[in-house]
Symmetry: C2
Subunit: 301 residues, 2 copies
């Protein structure tokens, strides 16, 4: 039954894709064997979009979807929701804005919550992304809100990562996201009609230049947009395409594949740890005043 469903999903049937994802999410036996037979290398590229809430990221994704769809492309979007009580307002807004695409035949949208009391990404996000890439789509967009470790991680796992910034907060904002800035390869200055946008853009370009990360001065990797009006969207798409082409070289792909492999191995090796059980055992020992952290972890060799 899984094989049949799979065949439909690979053809691009949205219902089947959604069901397969649920099977992967719930780690239904057999889903792993599936990946071993699939060629993840010859599939749609993954574009990560990240940045702080309020940067207009979702409006930008909205416009990007429109731009791809208008060219007859098929788009899959994965939204990673941080499970933070501080973000509900912003996220709700995002979801409402994005909803116009929910029922479009060329667009598949799925939200994944970041899970686990220990933080981090949804445990199956790499597998789910790899799966969707193979389902007859032209591009997969993964949107994360720049709030912590998850977005840096996912940025490291996408084929091209777009960091959306806004010209405000003076010259400090870019420092704040340095972890992200290293993972990103496309830098969007959104709301570029705002005062101070020129100065911000110049500053950003000079930072990228001095970072020495790019073969040229990096200014080709900076795009000015006004997402609310659609200004700059085509330039952004071109920039993303260029990065994707560059990143098909072995030198660029190897670190990406290595990171993916490492994360998957890590997850697999930690899969037997039942956190609730660990907490219970630990609580007992602490209550008996017999707890020593380094003795305790020896149980989990």
């Amino acid at each position: 039954m899984f094989q049949e469903l799979l065949q439909q999903a690979i053809k691009g049937d949205h219902k089947s894709i959604a069901r397969c994802i649920s099977l992967i999410e719930n780690e239904v036996p057999g889903f792993e064997a599936l990946f071993s037979t699939m060629n993840t290398e010859k599939s749609a590229p993954v574009v990560g979009i990240t940045g702080p809430p309020g940067a207009g990221k979702s409006t930008l994704v909205d416009q990007l979807i429109g731009s791809y769809v208008n060219e007859g492309k098929k788009v899959a979007v994965i939204c990673i929701d941080p499970s933070s009580p501080f973000n509900f307002g912003a996220l709700l807004g995002d979801r409402i804005r994005m909803s116009e695409w929910y029922n479009h035949p060329s667009v598949f949208i799925r939200s994944l919550a970041s899970r686990g009391s220990l933080g981090g990404l949804h445990p199956m996000v790499i597998e789910i992304t790899d799966f969707i890439r193979m389902c007859n789509v032209d591009v997969v967009i993964v949107e994360t809100v720049g709030v912590g470790q998850s977005e840096v991680e996912i940025a490291g796992l996408a084929d091209a990562t777009v960091l959306v910034l806004v010209p405000e907060g003076g010259d400090e904002i870019q420092f704040m996201k340095a972890g992200l800035m290293e993972a990103a390869s496309v830098f969007v200055v959104n709301k570029s009609d705002r005062e101070g946008a020129d100065r911000f853009t110049i500053l950003l370009k000079s930072m990228l230049h001095s970072s020495g990360r790019f073969a040229d001065d990096g200014s080709n990797n900076v795009v000015n947009t006004v997402a609310s009006t659609g200004e700059g969207i085509e330039a952004l798409r071109e920039c993303i395409s260029n990065v994707l082409v560059e990143n098909t070289s072995i030198e660029k792909r190897i670190p990406l594949l290595a990171r993916r492999a490492y994360r998957l191995i890590e997850k697999r090796r930690m899969a037997d740890i039942n956190i609730q059980l660990l907490v219970e055992e630990l609580t007992d020992l602490v209550k008996q005043q017999k707890f020593n952290l380094y003795q305790f972890i020896n149980k989990y060799k």
Copy 2:
């Protein structure tokens, strides 16, 4: 020899502490057995200080050290340097400012770089912190720059975490660090003499209130400071003390200990993975066009 050195370190001898840390850093055989015999539970509290560069975090740490030293306390400081090309300027400034304490007999300072092409914390940071706590100090301050996943992680591992913010960027800044905001229990509005500080403080308090994280409305966990003049430092110390006292309850300590245990287990289980080797193997397969991610990770079961 390690035992002798250890005895000196536990008495608080700075040279011996520094040497022991080097042994731990280099994972010299025998260092692990050491921890199993030590009582990490009856040792100095760990205070994490984090926030974006430019928030005045280091000046604040500087003032905190002074405040502890004036009361005859012994302080250890660990600085986690992100290995980001974007931060050299800011960090250099930090280090210079902090240096006045480098040779003070009551103050021990050590810098640790975050390592590894795959990101994340210095691999031995939990062990090193646990070690310093036992070396006859009254408090351990761990300073991280809020740039990515490391600082959220370390925040989750400290007994009390202080998030340093500045009143700027309007009402968006707090959203940016939501991951951190959940990990933090003390919120500093530094540079409180700036315009907009009152509005910012009110907004922050109302966010903490509506988060429902605190038994009261959370306003007692917000401190206004002007680090450059020392204003608010005593209030900050009191706030930190209160949080540390609260966090000695079993309910508060269990999640913290569980996170520490989990990270240590994770690190140990991944220790056999030679990343360079993994990359080489992977490169060969990619070049031969024989690479399948999910087949590849089966080698590392």
